[in-house]
């Protein structure tokens, strides 16, 4: 069997993955880079990021305040050495994106403009109107086309990491168009597969956000860190979950309850609409429970009101929001308030990786949302994730190129055998299996409902225990799944089955990590343990895969440098 072989193989074609691929080539122009993505790269979910990318660029801003805002925002679960390195690198990366053509919105003097954002104490969020992720992704993807060292494998789905003697030497990938399994070997592999929002029913995340990279690393023996830390964004459109950017509040929008009241005065009086996402989402749910939400056909909601900002400002700074309102809700945000409610948005947790993206598995790196490098802790600040993709994508690309320069070549024999085993496993489980009667779509919908109910904005031991039991039941039913599509060509039902398999893995890691963290910190709010407990839980959770439903949990220390934990009030 022949297979492609690379020095560096990137899995995922979003902002972190492409940034990693370019960084690897720029670190060493002789490096051969592969990039495998289950969708064409410009479909990656980076495209949906709206509000902006934070970096201490503006006059009067400082690394220290960006670091402190991030650490306080994380509820002190961020690793402070990682945050300090991140804030120094972020401005460089924003300039690099500018040189590559990103159409950043500008100040009158032609410098890059910044806007206010939640949890940030000063204006530091660079933006390209309200399509920042879209512009960054297309800029970096189009730029990547000029590097002949980068070879893409578009629409190929990685089903397994090849690990030989505790060293990652590539992947097995299903070519979606042909149904063929390929071994793609590499001296190093960078996971940049994004988030897992689709384990929830109500999410801003696209259909492709199924936690693939996290599940791949988890099954290969890497730890998943802080998986209980799931971000709920305060402002999603009811029914669709479409994101209404935090920049709406950054630019001066109000959140109003059914009394017409800016209710955040009771929760984050000093920051109001510019409070952090975790606290505002909890405030909204609390208001709903106390009867101060609007009732709609798709559940309770609040009003996000920008009418006082005026049409000229809205068209200049929030044109996509006006378009989304018009196209998807049938309102004009210049004249009508926007209905919003909290929605799953981002995963703080992810593959345990160090400051350069290295995981505990030799040759395996991770960057972007699928990784946990220790930047976001218990709650990510809005506009830190785009620079996270750039800074840590680049770091992982450089580290992988450097490691690959001296790594041993990959040998063919064990790879052949591993490819054969993996292809047989998938075919036996899905293509050749007879007699199953469970529908993938039904199991997926039930998992999503269970996750919304048990691992949402507020959690309890009872709710999480019930969720764990129900996930066990869904896993058993998944073993009896029925695949109706027997074609080799573009079989999206097999894809859906493989994705659901991965989602059930990461859902269980979330649930058991959340059950064990008996405190409230950041986005993890336990009604039965409402206080933060630094004595017991100023720790990272590490979940390791086992043959049972429940992972094995370990804890590791949080790195504190300059900022001692204190009460988190806004």
């Amino acid at each position: 069997m022949d297979f492609e072989s690379y020095d560096v193989l990137v899995v995922g074609g979003g902002l972190a993955g492409i940034r990693a691929a370019i960084a690897a080539v720029e670190a060493n122009p002789r490096v051969k880079v592969g990039m495998v993505s289950k969708v064409y790269p410009m479909r990656s979910h980076t495209v949906s990021a709206e509000g902006g990318a934070a970096a201490a660029l503006a006059p009067g801003d400082s690394y220290e305040t960006h670091a402190f805002d991030t650490i306080k925002g994380s509820d002190y679960l961020a690793d402070q050495d990682v945050v300090e390195a991140f804030v120094r690198e972020a401005p460089v990366e924003i300039i690099q994106m500018e040189h590559w053509g990103c159409p950043w919105s500008r100040n009158p003097d032609g410098t890059i403009a910044v806007r206010p954002f939640g949890g940030m104490t000063t204006w530091r969020t660079c933006y390209a109107a309200d399509k920042t992720g879209f512009h960054m992704l297309h800029t970096v993807f189009q730029t990547s086309l000029k590097y002949p060292q980068i070879t893409r494998h578009d629409e190929a789905f990685v089903t397994k990491l090849l690990v030989e003697d505790s060293r990652c030497v590539g992947v097995v990938a299903l070519d979606i168009r042909t149904g063929r399994f390929d071994a793609i070997t590499a001296k190093s592999v960078i996971l940049a597969t994004g988030g897992l929002g689709r384990v929830y029913a109500f999410t801003t995340n696209g259909n492709i956000c199924t936690g693939d990279g996290m599940a791949l690393a988890y099954r290969a023996g890497a730890g998943l860190r802080d998986m209980e830390m799931v971000q709920f964004h305060p402002t999603g459109l009811p029914f669709t979950g479409i994101l209404i950017t935090e920049a709406v509040r950054g630019e001066g929008g109000y959140l109003l309850n059914n009394q017409g009241e800016r209710f955040l005065k009771r929760y984050v009086p000093n920051k109001m609409e510019l409070g952090p996402r975790d606290i505002i989402s909890r405030a909204m749910v609390t208001e709903f429970e106390e009867g101060r939400g609007f009732e709609g056909p798709h559940g309770k909601y609040m009003h996000l009101d920008v009418r006082h900002l005026g049409e000229e400002m809205i068209d200049r700074k929030l044109p996509f929001m006006r378009e989304l309102g018009r196209e998807f809700v049938g309102i004009d945000i210049v004249k009508d308030p926007i209905p919003v409610r909290p929605v799953q948005h981002y995963m703080m947790g992810g593959v345990d990786a160090d400051i350069s993206g290295a995981t505990p598995i030799l040759g395996l790196y991770a960057a972007g949302e699928c990784a946990n490098v220790g930047l976001n802790g218990g709650n990510r600040l809005g506009s830190n994730s785009l620079p996270e993709c750039l800074v840590f994508g680049a770091a992982a690309g450089r580290a992988a190129a450097h490691y690959s320069a001296s790594a041993k070549p990959v040998t063919a024999n064990p790879v052949d055998a591993m490819l054969w085993d993996e292809a047989r496993r998938v075919e036996a489980a899905y293509l050749e299996k007879k007699g199953g009667d469970e529908r993938i779509g039904v199991i997926r919908e039930e998992m999503q409902k269970e996750m919304d109910a048990g691992a949402g904005v507020f959690r309890t031991r009872d709710g999480l225990s019930r969720l764990a039991r129900n996930l066990g039941g869904l896993r058993e039913r998944f073993e009896k799944v029925k695949i109706e599509d027997s074609s080799r060509t573009f079989n999206t039902e097999i894809m859906a089955a493989l994705e659901l398999d991965f989602m059930l893995e990461v859902a269980s890691a979330i649930t058991f990590s959340a059950l064990a963290r008996e405190e409230s910190r950041g986005a993890h709010a336990r009604l039965d343990f409402p206080e933060r407990d630094d004595k017991k839980f100023l720790k990272h959770t590490l979940a390791f895969h086992t043959n049972a439903l429940a992972p094995r949990l370990e804890y590791s220390d949080v790195t504190i440098t300059n900022f001692q934990p204190q009460a988190r009030t806004y």
Partner: protein, 246 residues
């Protein structure tokens, strides 16, 4: 109305089995006024027929995956509302003018090659170092190319283009708009490198200015304008070889 139904007729084609595409009819619950064509396809795939294949992801009109012909018009199915078609059946077919891979999935490799051919990246005679900071660029300068940078590569314009339908060597609307996006960017100096591709006989000159590309664009991009401007540009290059910017 709990019992409201909608009929979806979707193209089915498996190259391993079928000689040619056919339409398959599904009647599904039209349970919510907010449902779009993509929701209907997802309902079919989850609850009726798991073998139906199509691409989609963001369902908010920005990733560009879910373009299909809806009752004969190229549309993003994530914002084609069922209520606008009901009670008539909704016919969902793969985008016109592309080779068909499977069901509603088209082969867009041709565009990916065209995209690369127009060198869609900033080209400069001399890079300024990162330490030198950003290029100064005013919002007015961005407005010069802004609309062309909004292309989501959804392929609706190619599906609507009668010229591309006859001759797929034609560079076509989106690729020309993106070339224009870079040529108009005050930071870019790559016009002369792009000209051989866009001014080629199969480049902009094939366009017969039907303008359908601009009509179907879901993002307000005007590729027809990009093509006409490029024609003017390339003509001016012959008449006035020393433009103000390379």
């Amino acid at each position: 109305m709990p019992d409201k139904k909608v009929t979806i007729q979707a193209t089915r084609f498996d190259p391993d089995r079928d000689e040619k595409p056919r339409l398959q009819s599904y009647e599904i619950p039209f349970s919510d006024e907010s449902m779009v064509v993509l929701d209907a396809l997802n309902y079919i795939k989850s609850h009726v027929d798991g073998s139906l294949s199509y691409r989609w992801s963001c369902r908010m009109g920005i990733c560009g995956s879910c373009g299909m012909m809806v009752n004969g018009t190229p549309k993003l199915t994530c914002n084609a509302f069922l209520r606008d078609y009901w009670p008539r059946p909704v016919v969902v077919e793969p985008l016109n003018n592309f080779p068909l891979i499977r069901d509603l999935v088209i082969d867009m490799d041709d565009f990916m090659h065209k995209l690369k051919s127009i060198k869609p990246w900033i080209i400069r005679k001399q890079e300024i170092p990162l330490g030198g900071g950003e290029h100064r660029q005013t919002n007015d300068q961005i407005d010069e190319f802004r609309q062309f940078s909004e292309c989501i590569n959804c392929m609706l314009c190619y599906a609507a283009c009668p010229v591309y339908g006859l001759n797929n060597e034609f560079l076509g609307p989106a690729a020309t708009a993106l070339a224009r996006r870079y040529n108009l960017d005050s930071r870019d100096q790559g016009l002369t490198q792009r000209l051989p591709v866009i001014a080629d006989t199969e480049g902009v000159w094939e366009c017969s200015f039907v303008g359908e590309c601009s009509v179907v664009c879901p993002k307000g991009v005007d590729p027809a304008k990009a093509i006409q401007q490029t024609k003017l540009d390339t003509t001016m290059r012959f008449v006035l070889p020393f433009g103000t910017r390379e």
